[in-house]
Every structure is written in structure tokens, then in C-alpha cells.
Symmetry: C2
Subunit: 332 residues, 2 copies
Amino acid sequence: MKATAIATPNIALIKYWGKRDEKLILPTEGSISFTLDEQLATKCTIEFSEDYKEDELWINGKRYLTQEQIEKSKNQLDFIRRIIGTSIKAKIVSESIVPTAGGLAGSAAGLCAQAFAAVNALNLGIDEKQISIICRIGSGSACRSVYGGFVEWRRGEKADGSDSYAAQIADENHWSDFRCIICIVEREEKKIKSRPGMKRTAETSILYPKRLEYLPFVLDMTRNAIIKKDLQSLMKVTMRDSNNMHSVMLDTWLPIIYLNDVSRKVIYSIHDFNADGIKAGYSFDAGPNPCIFTVNKYVDEVKNILKSIEGVEEIIISKAGRGPRLIENHLF
Amino acid sequence: MKATAIATPNIALIKYWGKRDEKLILPTEGSISFTLDEQLATKCTIEFSEDYKEDELWINGKRYLTQEQIEKSKNQLDFIRRIIGTSIKAKIVSESIVPTAGGLAGSAAGLCAQAFAAVNALNLGIDEKQISIICRIGSGSACRSVYGGFVEWRRGEKADGSDSYAAQIADENHWSDFRCIICIVEREEKKIKSRPGMKRTAETSILYPKRLEYLPFVLDMTRNAIIKKDLQSLMKVTMRDSNNMHSVMLDTWLPIIYLNDVSRKVIYSIHDFNADGIKAGYSFDAGPNPCIFTVNKYVDEVKNILKSIEGVEEIIISKAGRGPRLIENHLF
């Protein structure tokens, strides 16, 4: 009834921004991501027991209590409990492996680790596809952390969400010199959280329907570029999709602006670096922290460019991660 | 053969961003603007004479020589010369009335003043509609400076551009307490000029066709809000259109980003100010300088908000201007 898992964040190359079902966390379109290695991993121990009168959630040593704080975790556990017809409560203890980088795509790693641990604690004996759906119920992007390498979250068509889960495009060995360089530029909490933000975009942006119309082509191009290890095509479609998502955010009413002056400097610097041909690409989630994708031979150059930009506080270089795994040493 | 005119900039509420004809400066859609008063005016003296062997352009005491620098002025004069079948050259001397604010929407004021002076120096005896077309040939947005108050530049349908000119929606007396507050936040020259920038957007932005599809409705709403003096509706559509234009700029390949951290602070501050109902609206041209529209009774509050934002260097408050006029005291 107790298990501990490690899961890692994933960074979307093609972004998820908008739900077609708020409760089941079904996306308006598919998305494609790169799973990071364990430098930014989250470790989660879960124990189900009749002794617990309510779910108890601890993250990085702090008890989470409010409805808002525990919502994602609880939704995921409720979903599992409904599957197996139980009301048993759990204690969940979650920790960032590297505390300094906590928060970056943290909910994806955290809710994937929790799902993986819960499924094993309860001995459910289900496959990655089902675990991916359980992840999704907690936090949409968490469902992509179920695999290593390059992963696609399929939109799905069904109203019950049973065909909206992650699938691996290529594993962590397929493109072994591919890298993700994560820059930390700001640690303050963002003003507009992703969940209400994407809801507002889907409801109000004039340009958003055009984004959705175009995404199936973008997903095709991205899948092909990954399979062919075509860096130029992959980086171009990645940068364009990041810009496209931040465009529909700005077009939202009220507007959502995550990019700041540091982000802008990074964007222009990468375009300067690419002047003679695309060698690297940026991508920004719902925040100003840039993620730069490239291959090993350009890492040092990109690192030096990033270091020269005022406001870049920390740089982490990640290979492809292998996806979540169980470990023996529990957190409590 | 000599005349001097004063013309003022105009600030678009509904933006012009994209041409359907690069040579004739025909826009992909209509736009609507507010003509500023003479605080930011440009004064232009033009003299046609057989003594001049070539066109000579002076702006703020500096001779403009390169093809790029004189292009807009020269295109406008060539257009006039073709109409009347002459090759006579001209000396043009142009000056910002307030030198410190030089550059803000300066080409609209400058090319309107030049057109107005030229038409009078040559005694062409044509109406505002024709002058507006002459302005347009120099710089698209200049055609809106031909009238005071609120002005619409009509897209037009004809390939020769003869139906793409400005028309007044309401004159400077219609909404006498309406104000435009111009903030200067940055004086450095912008990296990407409007002309190549809008060309790139029209050619590459995925979202741009959606903007064009929606603009006719936006123009209708704006026209109605001006006629009814409906501040809330006008401000909402103005802010949304500014955000929408900057969205398609960001979606351009390579991306165009004019908004900076100061712009973002202004945007969020205005939304805070509007929390209980819209009282003011921001708009950004192809640069980070915010223009805030409001009515007289809110001017002091808005001014205080803007003053409290670090990076705002200068604030100018403008009523509706009356459009261009001839004056007697020539610049040379």
C-alpha cells in the first residue's frame, strides 16, 4: 500500500494551451514534448491506509491544506479510487530532487510521480496508457511525463477522454545528442496561472481558432522532424509554436503576457545565433523562463550566449530522460 | 511655388498593419485614428523651382541624402509631378514643433504636412480626399492626418487605389473631452521598421488572416462607439486591437516584439485602473511608447498612474487636433 516513484518534467515543443473539457482535462489539440533527465525530477511517496482520515499532501516539507493547493492531487486520487471502488485515503509526500530548480514544470513531474507511485502502491497492474490518463486527470501536461524521449499527447475524440493519452514518438536513445537548456530568469510566482489562463484564451481570443486550425499540420511536421532528427525543421516549428502560443495569450481578454525583456533578449540572441542556419530553438511555457533546444555540439556556444544576458540566473542542461521509475527509499 | 503647412500626428485606435499593394500603399484593411493637437505637430515648407537640380530634404536641420531617407518624400512628390505632368524639383524643410517629442508618429505628420504644402505651393485646387491619397503614397498612416477628430482610412477595393483614402468619422468638436495621453518610454530607434515589419507579418504570420477576417466587425464597432461617445466600448475595442496587432507581430517569422517591460506594466496598470469599469484604454504602435485614451475627468488619475511607472520619461496630453493648415511664416 506504499510506493515511491521518481518522475521528471517535460518541456513542450508544441504547446498545450486550452481544454475542450475542463473536468476531464481534455485538450483542444495535441501537443509534443521532450522529457527531461532526473536533474529536475520530483520524488513522491504515497501510502494508502485506513489510518488516514483525509488525504494529506506534503510538498518540499510543507503541508498543503487549501482546496486550491490540493485540488490537482486530490482529483487524481479520486479518479483512481473511483476505478477500483474504494474511499481509502492517502498520505503523499513529494520533493524536488534539486530544490533550487523547484517549480519549473514542477506540476507535470509531481503529478506523474504521484500517479506512478499510487498505481504501484495499489498494485493496479495497468499499462502506461492508463497511467497517462491518470496523470492527465491531475495535470494535463503530466500525462506526457509517462514516457522518456519525445512524447505526444493525443487530443483524442471521445467525450469520456479514454483516447486522450500520451504516446512515445521516439525513446531517449533515438536522438542521443539532443539537449534542452533550461534558463531560470525569474522565481516569482506568475500572476496568471495556466489553468484559468488557457480557459480565458479559449473563450476570448479572436486568433485562437486559427491556432487550432493550424496545429494538426504543426504536429505532423514536428513528428516527422523528430523521427528524421532534422534539427532545423524541428527548431523552426518549435520556435514558431512558442511564439504562436504567446500571441494568442496576448490576444486574450484580459491579455496574458508572460514574456519579459529577458525573454525578448533570449529570443533575439537565438535568432542572431541562427543567422546562417538554424542551430538552436527557444520555447517559453507560461512564464518567462526560456528553454533552448539544440544538439550537444552547440551547447557551449548557446550557454555562453545565455550567460551574457543580464537576468539569466541559472542554466541547466538536460539530456532526454527515461520516464518515471519506482525506487525503494521512501520519503517517510 | 512655395507654401508652408502644419500637420499633426494621428494615433490609430484600430491599427494599420499590412499592405495589399506595396507600391501604391494600399492596406489589407481599414484603420481608424484620432488626430492629435499641435503639440506634436510638424511644420513643412516646400518650394518648387527650376533652380533645384534635385529634390532636397531637410528634417530638423539635417539634410537627408540617402535613397532610403528620402524615399517616402520623393515617392509623394513623384506622384504629384506625374499628376500635373512636370519634372520640377523641390526643396523641402521640415521641423518638429516640439523637438523633444520628435519621432512619435512623426512620419505621418511630416508627410501630411509635405503633401498639404506641396498641393498649395502648386495651386492644385484639389480636395481633402485627393490630398489624402497623396499623403498615402508617402506614408500610409499620413493619409489619416488630413482631418481632425476621428478619422477612418478606408481600405478601398480598386487596384489603382483611387478609393483608398481617409474620411472623417467625427470632427474635433464631437467629443470635446476625449484625450490622448502619450508616454515616451524609449527614444532609441526601433530595430524593425514598420514597413518591412508589416510586410513580413502579412507574408508569414499564421494568425494574420484571422485578424483580417475580424477587422471589418472591429471597424463597425469602433465607428459606432465614436458616434455614440461610448467610452467603454471604444476603449475595449481599442485595447483589444492593439493587443491583436502585437500578437500577429509576435507570430511573424522572424518574430517582431515591440512591447517591453514598461509597456507591460502600463497594460496591467490600466487594467487595474479599469477593474470596476473601463475608464481608459492603451494602444501601442510599432514601438513601446504607450498612448492612453480617456476622457478629461480621468486624465489626472491616469497621469499619476503613468508617472509612478519606472521608465516613463515624458507624458503629453493631447486633445483632438483640427487637421493640417497653411501658415505664412516659411522655414526658409
